[in-house]
């Protein structure tokens, strides 16, 4: 009975105060869409960044006269180095094929395959700092069998330089957007409850317990937060779909992201209404 009353009154409150309920839902929708859009940008930028990072690899050109057993033992040694994820051996033929697939026929210009045999050394996730990479490079360059080590030194240096700055700026902007949105939602809920202080005072007067007074408002707050977040997810999904079709086919948004928005909206509705109603419940 109690639960039924709380749910019924919560839903009825929704219908009775349509305008303020609509304002709250629209506020939640817009705020969460904003948060979602920001998250989407950050997510995709960091994804691209990560992909760029994952491409960090060393090209280790080796002496073409090495026997296959020497190549094998060199591969084993490279694999055993700290920070090395895995090693791929690239034969001259394979290197030629790769080049030709990118740039076309080369043997018509040159008489012989110009590519030496090499190893592609992919580093582990944790080894992305310049000094760590340079230390690995130094160890490899010191080997007799190795002719040369190539890697994207400048790009890594640039990425290292701006990564922390990027993290700080995005965190600050994200926190600001989240704070403003939360305040906006809280205030809208507060106004909704303030507009119904008469109802609350009557409930107190006739002897309703705190649970009975708070319940319907909290149910209403949860519903408003839930609906607002669902609309925000809908808008975001639509937005992502349009942008993906028209501009960036690689744009993606993980499913848990929608879950996060729904949870955030619902929690904001719950907490906002719970705190706001408390103000009117001295005794």
């Amino acid at each position: 009975m109690k639960l039924f009353f709380l749910l019924k009154e919560g839903l009825a409150g929704f219908q009775r105060a349509r305008l303020s309920a609509t304002i709250t839902i629209v506020t939640v929708t817009l705020s969460l869409t904003l948060i979602g859009m920001f998250g989407l940008i950050v997510q995709n930028l960091s994804h691209s960044f990560q992909q760029l990072y994952n491409k960090i690899q060393l090209e280790v050109f080796i002496d073409p006269s090495l026997s296959s057993s020497q190549v094998d033992s060199l591969a084993r040694y490279l694999n055993s180095l700290d920070g090395v994820g895995y090693v791929n051996y690239i034969t001259p033929q394979h290197a030629l094929k790769e080049f030709e697939s990118d740039f076309g026929d080369i043997l018509s210009v040159l008489d012989a395959n110009p590519f030496p045999p090499s190893f592609r050394v992919v580093l582990k996730g944790g080894y992305r700092k310049m000094n760590e990479i340079e230390s690995i490079v130094r160890k490899i360059e010191a080997l007799e069998e190795v002719d040369e080590v190539n890697y994207q030194r400048n790009i890594i240096r640039l990425m290292n330089k701006y990564f922390l700055l990027g993290v700080i700026i995005t965190s600050a902007v994200g926190a600001t957007i989240f704070f403003i949105s939360t305040m906006l939602i809280f205030n809208t809920i507060r106004l909704t409850i303030h507009s119904r202080r008469n109802l609350i005072s009557i409930m107190r007067l006739v002897g309703a317990t705190r649970l009975f007074i708070k319940g319907p408002f909290v149910v209403e707050g949860i519903l408003q937060g839930l609906l607002g977040s669902l609309f925000a997810c809908g808008l975001l999904w639509l937005g992502v779909d349009i942008i993906r079709t028209a501009l960036f086919p690689t744009l993606h948004i993980p499913l848990y992201y929608y879950g996060f928005l729904i949870l955030t909206g619902t929690m904001l509705g719950l907490i906002g209404s719970y705190i706001s109603i408390g103000k009117y419940l001295k005794y």
Binding site: M1, F5, L205, V206, G207, T209, I213, Y283
Partner: protein, 228 residues
């Protein structure tokens, strides 16, 4: 049943009530009179514990203002009906729902609500208007709905804060007659009013407040009656 022991209420440094002691018996009808700001509303608020004394103690039924915990206050209020000059009805629901609301919010099972609401509406003479919205009712009818809402929980006392303040003399008399009939059935009534004419027409013990002090008490027998 209701007892105030040397009660004072101050707001900041301003005294609102000053050393008030009084007792209201079970089933009694008592008027509180005094100028605006004399402390009538404050005294009523002390009884339904919307306000607590700065000094002294208020006993209502088995509850004491000095020891009651916030979670017990709703249970006290179920035994105390309150009506106001401005009725305080919910304008978004009809007469029946306004009265039923007082039962719903204290968890009375649904099937018990309808007969109780109809009985109390019959008592205040509004059964035929149960589906009407409050804004379609006259002032007197709205006050009757408020009285029905206050009575539906069968309180032992009805507190009335200037219940006739917004009503014309004829309707005021009707409301007083209703309050008297409620009182005759055993519910105590404590009514704050400015309307001395009504007191003369319906004489009961009268407590006179002046500047937060209990100026005097006039027994019903000493009030010069007037033709109703």
């Amino acid at each position: 049943m209701i007892e105030l022991f040397n009660v004072s209420v101050t707001l900041g440094k301003r005294p609102i009530l000053d050393h008030i002691s009084l007792k209201i018996q079970k089933g009694e009808f008592v008027y509180l009179i005094g100028k605006t700001g004399a402390g009538k509303t404050t005294l009523l608020k002390l009884i339904y514990m919307d306000l607590f004394p700065t000094r002294g103690n208020v006993i209502v039924d088995k509850y004491s203002s000095s020891s009651i915990s916030p979670r017990h206050i709703p249970y006290l209020r179920r035994k105390v009906g309150v009506i106001f000059q401005d009725f305080k009805l919910l304008t978004d629901r009809n007469v029946f729902d306004n009265v039923a609301f007082a039962l719903q919010v204290i968890g009375v099972p649904g099937k018990k609500i309808k007969p109780r609401v109809l009985a109390v509406l019959n008592r205040v003479g509004l059964t035929h208007k149960r589906y009407v919205m409050p804004d379609k009712l006259s002032g007197g009818e709205q006050q009757r709905v408020a009285i029905a809402r206050a009575l539906v929980n069968e309180p032992f006392v009805l507190l009335a804060d200037e219940p006739t303040g917004n009503l014309d003399p004829h309707v005021s008399k009707e409301i007083l007659s209703l309050l008297e009939s409620i009182n005759r059935s055993g519910t105590a009534v404590v009514m704050a009013t400015h309307n001395y004419d009504l007191i003369r027409q319906y004489p009961h013990r009268t407590i006179v407040l002046d500047n937060g002090r209990l100026y005097k008490e006039i027994p019903a027998s000493q009030i010069q009656g007037k033709k109703k």
